[in-house]
């Protein structure tokens, strides 16, 4: 569906100097949570009022439910997620030695389904994949994002940075132009955040539901009038790797809530 915004740019973006060379000073680093008004911050912080918890609770049920065919539930191998999954989301994307490539948390869940549960992967953006991923990531809430120092991840991370800084689409923008150089300013009335993926999957009011980081990246690409990569493309994993390094050590917020 074409529902893209019509974007009209003034000359400001092309003329401005970056606020900090290569990105954001460590002391300035902050989550998009800080850009929101007090009402939405309160909505994120209160689990009994947070609509994203509807998905997290679904994920908790899925964690404990064995698939048909006799294979174990997630909990059959991993036990209590509260203990076994604590800190996992903080270090993803990570290297998958079996396939020789970096994978994100939702890929990890789907690989686990295929390899150990012998069932089909869950579809991208399906309620089940979002719920299970959010449930796992919620176990890391409050922990600092801590990307692994695995040298095998370095090439993809470099590629992610190059993608982040590359101009793309009909507007000739890049991720970096908004989120490195102009964070704290406004696009229309909306504050430009630094763009740290601290709380995915998250509940976005614009979506009226939960969505993944890949869905958010697709939105940004549409906003730049670039053709989004298909879900699951390695370009997203590369971007996610760079974004995790760029966001560290901000704390994991899953499930975050954003406008």
């Amino acid at each position: 569906m074409i529902r893209s915004a019509v974007l009209v740019l003034a000359g400001l973006i092309l003329a401005a100097e970056p606020a900090f060379p290569g990105g954001i000073a460590p002391s300035d680093k902050r989550s998009g949570l800080a850009e929101m008004g007090p009402e939405l911050q309160a909505m994120q912080r209160d689990d009994t009022a947070h609509p994203g918890m509807l998905w997290v609770q679904d994920g908790a049920d899925l964690w404990a439910r064995a698939p048909t065919g006799g294979a174990p539930a997630c909990s059959g191998c991993h036990g209590e997620a509260r203990a076994s999954m604590r800190g996992v989301a903080a270090r993803y994307p990570a290297w998958d030695a079996r396939n020789g490539r970096p994978i994100d948390l939702q890929d990890r869940i789907n690989l686990c389904r295929r390899t150990h549960q012998h069932v089909e992967p869950l579809a991208y953006e399906s309620a089940d994949l979002l719920g299970l991923t959010a449930f796992v990531a919620t176990q890391s809430r409050g922990m600092p994002i801590a990307p692994p120092e695995d040298p095998r991840l370095a090439p993809a991370r470099r590629e992610g940075r190059a993608l982040f800084e590359a101009r793309m689409g009909q507007l000739g923008l890049s991720c970096a132009i908004c989120h490195d150089d102009h964070w704290g300013r406004h696009l229309g009335a909306a504050a430009i955040p630094q763009g740290h993926p601290t709380g995915y999957p998250l509940y976005r009011l614009e979506w009226q539901g939960m969505g993944s980081l890949q869905r958010r990246l697709r939105n940004c690409m549409s906003g730049m009038r670039a053709e989004p990569y298909p879900f699951g493309a390695p370009d997203y994993i590369a971007l996610e790797l760079y974004l995790a390094e760029r966001a560290a050590p901000l704390p994991v917020e899953t499930p975050a809530l954003r406008p």
């Binding site: 569906m1 009994t48 009022a49 609509p51 918890m53 509807l54 609770q57 679904d58 009226q208 539901g209």
Partner: protein, 106 residues
């Protein structure tokens, strides 16, 4: 079954005013919005929320398309005795779901 989250104190003193928070998973499709094919999506909303305590109605809400997706309602009641709350959401397409929660009043 739609996922519902209900939050209230497990225990209360008689005479306490307690707060009950409810959330339910529902798209609340307004009936005013075009779908991917450009045609208006049919309305699919929850039209009524009802809270009863031991069978007696204590709070009711009529909802309209202006209620947000995944409707949230917070209200209060005076704790009188131990018992069960029944929460019922009804809406378009025969939507009808009831959840329960108990409170112990000392």
């Amino acid at each position: 079954m739609a996922r519902a989250l209900i939050n209230l104190p497990k225990t209360a003193k008689a005479g306490d005013v307690i707060e009950i928070k409810t959330l339910i998973s529902h798209p609340m499709e307004t009936g005013f919005r075009p779908g991917p094919d450009g045609r208006i999506l049919p309305r699919n909303i929850i039209t009524e929320f009802l809270c009863r305590f031991e069978g007696e109605e204590i709070f009711r809400a009529e909802l309209f398309p202006a209620a947000s997706a995944n409707p949230y309602l917070t209200f209060t009641t005076t704790a009188t005795r131990s018992g069960t709350f029944q929460f019922t959401w009804r809406g378009d397409g025969g939507f009808d779901q009831t959840e329960t929660a108990t409170v112990t009043v000392a």
